[in-house]
């Protein structure tokens, strides 16, 4: 790193420029990752918080099951309840509508499920009486109500029995009801009152039970692609992040390709003086690593600062997964780009140092 450090100092303008580009890409990637995390959380946190090891969906039209189209038939419900190894089956109805409280309106997700289901953030919201509802923190905030207040949903008025965790489904805050109240509301909204999903637990042959009941089963995490909004949203944001990673590797690779080509004469001289190719490669990669670490470090600080500010106005998640992991990937891909640019270093012919016109 002897020459590398001095090159960094000597050509600081060029390295500040590429460092700034790396920092800006890190900022973009970090911001997109945080936004993706925030949007994903507003999309699926309710699904992930359902009380079961597996989630069961059923499609009536034969197409692949989705949360929007799924309806659990009575026979399927019975089949799962009687299946060996299944220890609990919680039918959950899901519908989206608007709620109103004291003149304030908000789009909400109605979750119908029995009180006393296995402990989970969603189950904890479930009321015990048909005339009551449990509000997630987001729903309470958007409707401006607290415990004891009243909320109108699908033409019926309910008393707020509890305000719980900030759980969401498809970008709408969750409002929990009893299964009976949910079935009534769903009927008013044009549905047939059948549960949407079964949250099941136990140690069963999941595939066999799913096949025998005409349903599909997956872990909560693996079920997320069955949520249409999640699939399209995360897909497009993930594609943007992946493209930014690619751009980052290409930019860093292009910079170091030009840089090492400009230094080809110096590299030939160092080889003629006896430098090992390994030491020259180590020098070049070390130089790239310094630029990448400083660039991503600055970008990361900007992500944390701006993310903290944006968190109150945007769905933004600031976590190691949305900051450190993308930053690590940036450094890794940048190094790959720099490694591709090493050809002029390994190929430099020390004999050219003897020429009269370097």
């Amino acid at each position: 790193m002897f020459v590398a450090w001095r090159d960094l100092r000597f050509a600081r303008g060029r390295f500040v420029l590429i460092g700034t580009v790396v920092a800006l890409i890190t900022l973009l990637v970090g911001f997109l990752a945080g936004l993706t995390g925030g949007l994903a959380s507003q999309n699926v946190s309710g699904v992930l918080a359902l009380p079961g090891d597996r989630l069961v969906l059923q499609s009536s039209d034969g197409a692949g099951p989705t949360f929007g189209q799924s309806e659990i038939m009575d026979a399927a419900l019975t089949g799962w309840r009687e299946a060996p190894g299944v220890t609990s089956v919680t039918p959950v109805g899901i519908a989206q509508t608007r709620a109103e409280a004291d003149g304030q309106h908000a789009a909400v997700a109605l979750f119908g499920m029995p009180a006393g289901a296995a402990a989970s953030e969603v189950a904890a919201l479930a009321p015990t009486r048909d005339g009551e509802i449990g509000l997630s923190a987001g729903a309470a905030k958007e409707l401006g109500v607290s415990i004891g207040g009243s909320v109108t949903v699908a033409g019926a008025e309910y008393r707020v029995a509890s305000v719980g965790a900030d759980v969401w489904y498809s970008h709408t805050p969750i409002v929990a009801m009893t299964p009976t109240a949910w079935a009534s509301a769903d009927t008013v909204l044009g549905g047939d009152g059948r549960p949407t999903v079964l949250a099941v637990s136990g140690d069963a042959d999941w595939s066999a039970v799913a096949a025998s009941t005409g349903t599909s089963v997956a872990t909560p995490l693996a079920s997320l692609p069955h949520l249409e909004t999640f699939r399209s949203e995360v897909g497009s944001l993930g594609l943007m992040i992946a493209m930014l990673f690619g751009v980052s590797a290409l930019v860093v690779g292009a910079f170091f390709t030009v840089w090492t080509m400009q230094r080809a004469g110096d590299v030939a001289v160092l080889k003629a003086l006896g430098a090992s190719t390994r030491s020259l490669v180590r020098d070049a990669l070390g130089q790239a690593l310094v630029v990448l670490l400083v660039g991503t470090g600055v970008g990361l600080l900007a992500v944390v600062g701006l993310g903290a500010l944006a968190g109150s106005a945007l769905p933004f998640v600031l976590s190691p997964l949305t900051t450190l992991v993308p930053a690590f990937a940036m450094v890794l891909l940048g190094l790959v780009g720099a490694a591709v640019a090493l050809r002029p270093v390994t190929a430099a012919d020390p004999l050219t140092a003897l020429g009269s016109a370097r």
């Binding site: 002897f2 090159d7 006896g274 430098a275 020429g355």
Partner: protein
């Protein structure tokens, strides 16, 4: 000591080959400056490239301090160059980002085994070498801040800082005016004698003869025995 024993080197030129060095035998002895001269294209730079182990001979032997370089791998040749050979290039070939002091220190940073001890040994000699070439006061300057003669002095100090057995010098005065050229030649001669290096010096200019102990003339890749003369 460096010996080229019946060395031949040729290059492909389409379907045929051009013989650049033809059965050359030459010895560089410790403390002696051997000047290699000849017309352009005569093969003197090729002889220097062979001596510097930057290219392998088709036949014959190049022996440096008892080591036949033909037996060495590419990485072993790099070790040989950084430990036992000093090279002064036609253009000073200094690294633009390094100060004069760092141009010498870099010789201790070229990798391989024993880097730490070599680094210590070289750093201990840097100031003495810069003083020996008259650049102690310019140690902090980069190449762009030095004159052509000063850059060549730094290059000479760099070539000697690791105490090589062999010093190879390629046209050291070609980019200098006559007065600076004489100074550089005298400096090379003085350091060769003080440090007992075997110096091979390629030049097309035979005027500053006082600095060269022996002359070898190369014509068409061969040593012209008729032109060989002790000065």
């Amino acid at each position: 000591m460096i010996t080229l024993d019946n060395v031949t080197l040729s290059f492909a030129d389409g379907a045929s080959r051009i013989v650049a060095v033809d059965s050359v035998t030459l010895t560089g002895r410790p403390g002696v400056v051997t000047g290699i001269t000849g017309p352009s294209g005569s093969g003197k730079s090729s002889i220097l490239a062979l001596a510097a182990t930057l290219i392998r001979a088709d036949s014959g032997r190049v022996v440096i301090g008892g080591t036949d370089v033909a037996e060495l791998s590419r990485s072993d040749l790099a070790v040989l160059r950084r430990e036992r050979i000093g090279i002064v290039f036609q253009q000073s070939n200094l690294l633009p980002s390094l100060t004069a002091r760092e141009q010498l220190q870099v010789m201790g940073e070229l990798g391989g085994a024993g880097v730490a001890s070599r680094r210590r040994a070289i750093r201990a000699r840097v100031d003495e070498l810069l003083d020996a070439v008259g650049l102690a006061e310019h140690a902090h300057k980069r190449p762009a801040q030095l004159s052509g003669g000063q850059r060549q002095r730094v290059a000479i100090a760099r070539a000697l800082v690791h105490q090589p057995e062999v010093l190879l010098v390629d046209e050291p005065t070609s980019a200098l005016d006559r007065a600076r050229g004489v100074e550089i030649m005298q400096l090379i001669a003085r350091l060769t004698r003080e440090r007992s290096t075997a110096t091979l010096l390629v030049t097309h200019d035979v005027t500053p003869t006082a600095s060269v102990d022996e002359w070898v003339t190369v014509v068409d890749g061969r040593i012209d025995a008729g032109a060989l003369a002790a000065v």
